[in-house]
């Protein structure tokens, strides 16, 4: 079924606008990113490929360590690889700046 994962990271940098990238297609994912008033990045991942919580943690922690942005992020995932997820995160950041 669908696995829902949540992650939170402390964050303080602001982004100018919200961003939407990607698509829920096989091997891909959709990202919805919005500025948050909280001093944190809070992430919700919905994925149809379960059992990869540690991999998600690793990819997201790495990204938010580099870009400590206060955002709410939703990821709808259909089996994207870490590389694809990382690319989508960078695209979203680019759009949000």
């Amino acid at each position: 079924m669908i696995e829902t994962l949540t992650f939170t990271y402390p964050a303080s940098a602001h982004v100018a606008r919200r961003a939407h990238v990607g698509v829920v297609a096989s091997g891909n994912c959709e990202l919805l990113l919005e500025p948050s008033p909280e001093p944190s990045a809070s992430v919700t991942v919905r994925t149809s490929v379960g059992g990869y919580a540690t991999t998600w943690e690793a990819v997201l922690a790495r990204f938010f360590a580099r870009h400590s942005i206060a955002v709410r992020l939703e990821i709808d995932d259909f089996g994207a690889t870490p590389a694809v997820v990382a690319m989508r995160l960078e695209q979203a950041l680019e759009q949000a700046r």
């Binding site: 939407h20 698509v23 297609a25 891909n28 959709e30 919805l32 995932d77 259909f78």
Partner: protein, 268 residues
């Protein structure tokens, strides 16, 4: 921003197709991804929902005239229509019809890339398609309803029926229009009936060039945004009424398969 190649329509996603079909700078999406109007039926079936349910509706102008584009996302579940996406399309047509009755017409372009009804929502999709069919026929009494079939999926199933109800159907060579996809025909009737892996045959039977030659499409254009925009504008300006669909001429269906196709001008 999703990178797209030059002026190709097929390479663009639904949102970019809608944006580029509308006059520059006029694109305004309704119920955009941040509205989070997701299908509530998919999670129980192990499918992740998409925030726009695979349909983009945008207001704007076309040739300076009020317009709306409803574009399906062929990459999400093959562009198959569920309750929310179907309602987006039906509502666009119904609101445009209301505008026409009020004397402020809104042009509607249906940019379809869709395999038909979403299996995971079955009868709700079926109900939506019935509503869309009626809405197209109702809007058609006021103005042309223009379909653009120029993406990678084409139109099948209930969405091909909706397309056939439009006054104007703009296709590219790469487009496909049919009721049952070749893989479905092959599954139901065997590879002898329709070998879905025979791609040249698929396009000879259901491709845009063939459909235009048959009179199923009213314009055949290159996969090029300026050409498609021009064809869309042309379609509205021409303002041709809908011609009731009549039975076409075709060879004796009792002919053996290959003979039938050859007699119909298709070399299998």
């Amino acid at each position: 921003m999703t990178p797209h190649i030059g002026d190709s329509y097929a390479e663009r996603n639904a949102r970019e197709r809608a944006r580029t079909l509308l006059d520059p700078g006029t694109f305004r999406e309704l119920l955009d991804p941040f509205a989070r109007m997701r299908s509530p039926y998919l999670a129980a079936q192990g499918v992740v929902s998409q925030s726009d349910d695979g349909v983009v509706v945008a207001r704007g102008t076309l040739g300076g005239v009020r317009a709306c584009v409803a574009a399906t996302d062929g990459r999400f579940l093959g562009g198959a229509i569920g309750e929310i996406g179907g309602a987006k399309i039906a509502a666009s047509l119904e609101l445009a019809r209301r505008d026409a009755e009020r004397g402020t017409p809104t042009r509607v372009v249906l940019a379809f890339d869709s395999g038909g009804i979403r299996l995971q929502e079955a009868n709700l999709g079926l109900l939506a398609i019935a509503e869309i069919c009626d809405a197209v026929a109702a809007l058609r009494t006021h103005q042309p309803v223009v379909a653009v079939i120029a993406g990678r999926v084409g139109v099948y199933g209930g969405m091909s029926i909706v397309t056939a109800l439009c006054n104007e159907v703009i296709v590219t060579e790469g487009a496909r229009v049919g009721l049952n996809g070749p893989d479905v025909v092959e599954t139901e009737a065997g590879a002898d009936e329709f070998d879905a892996s025979n791609r040249p045959l698929v396009w000879k039977v259901t491709g845009g060039r063939r459909r235009f030659a048959q009179g199923h499409a009213t314009a055949l254009v290159a996969d090029d945004m300026p050409d498609i925009r021009a064809a869309v504008e042309d379609a509205f300006v021409r303002n041709r009424p809908f011609v009731a669909i009549e039975r076409p001429e075709f060879p004796d269906p009792g002919l053996e398969r290959e003979a039938f196709l050859r007699a119909y001008g298709i070399t299998p």
